[in-house]
Symmetry: none
DNA sequence: TAGGTAAAGGTCAGGGATGGTCAAACCATG
DNA sequence: CATGGTTTGACCATCCCTGACCTTTACCTA
């Protein structure tokens, strides 16, 4: 069930944790380690280490080239709210919504239960209506839920 | 008479018991095992593994795709969930929803943040559509959020 | 300094492998 | 024989992975 891309993603994330969010790799070396085409690495980076998910990827070609991966933190609930309200427009696809929720959870702005709750709410099955209205309702819900939860003090012993 | 769908249902449920409520399958493999069309599997999932019955189904397409089936324990805090999913019909007014959330919060089944989150979600302003659809969406949201949150273990130092 | 070369990484289209959807056919039951 | 749950097949959407070809950079050599 777990694809090569998933494995590479996990590998990179583990490395990132050990290096406190900043990492430089050689594309070819990594590809060799997983016995795959070098472009596979790009695929993984493009699909899993996107800006939405809080990563920045830079690179340099040529001799002594590299790929640098940086994980950004949202910097606490206050900033998160500010950041997110800019990003969410009048319409949001399920994928985007889930990426945002995932990121907030990883950053400790949401408890696992809060994240589960929000994931359930933005699921297309829950919204019952067709596009394009569904995406509008999702955007509305997401914004309101975020404001509600992020401006409410976390329970003791939770997020920080 | 037991239909093929019934057999597949039984099979999946047995598997779920052996794997403590979480299971990943290949649609094609399962279809092959029962010598039926792959879409038969979807039919079984749609008709028998619904949210109302306490199941969640996720999936991924493409290479190394899968279908994941999760069984929620309906015997959460005070067996509230079992009671509630019966009690919430296809349509719920904002007033009822809020009363329900309030009640759960007072009973300690929901943290203040979780309650705030849910209140925001069932607010008529958030749902954007007119009656009677609004009340339907609210019912759907409410049930799904409750299943999600109540079958997720509470954080330490929270609810009890 | 100019030019060449080797050594990175980037792009993109395409093929294969899954699962999803939907309408029509099928069939058991009252 | 009407109804509603089953079952199927045709067609669609998504995801993974690769290989051929392109661009950029460092460094060496004349």
């Amino acid at each position: 069930m777990t694809s090569l891309s998933d494995e590479i993603e996990e590998f990179i994330k583990r490395m990132l944790e050990e290096t406190s969010g900043r990492l430089e790799i050689r594309r070819q070396r990594l590809a060799a380690r997983f016995s795959c085409a070098p472009s596979q690495i790009n695929y993984v980076l493009e699909t899993r280490f996107t800006t939405d998910r809080g990563y920045a990827v830079e690179s340099r070609r040529g001799g002594s080239g590299f790929i640098r991966i940086i994980k950004f933190s949202l910097g606490g609930p206050g900033r998160a709210l500010e950041f997110l309200s800019d990003r969410i427009g009048d319409s949001v696809a399920q994928r985007e919504a889930q990426a945002l929720i995932e990121r907030l959870a990883e950053d400790g702005c949401l408890s696992p239960r809060e994240a589960a709750l929000m994931r359930a709410a933005v699921d297309r099955e829950a919204l019952l209506v067709d596009l394009p209205y569904r995406d509008r309702i999702r955007a509305s819900l997401l914004k309101r839920m975020l404001v509600a939860v992020l401006s409410c003090p976390p329970a003791r012993g939770e997020q920080e």
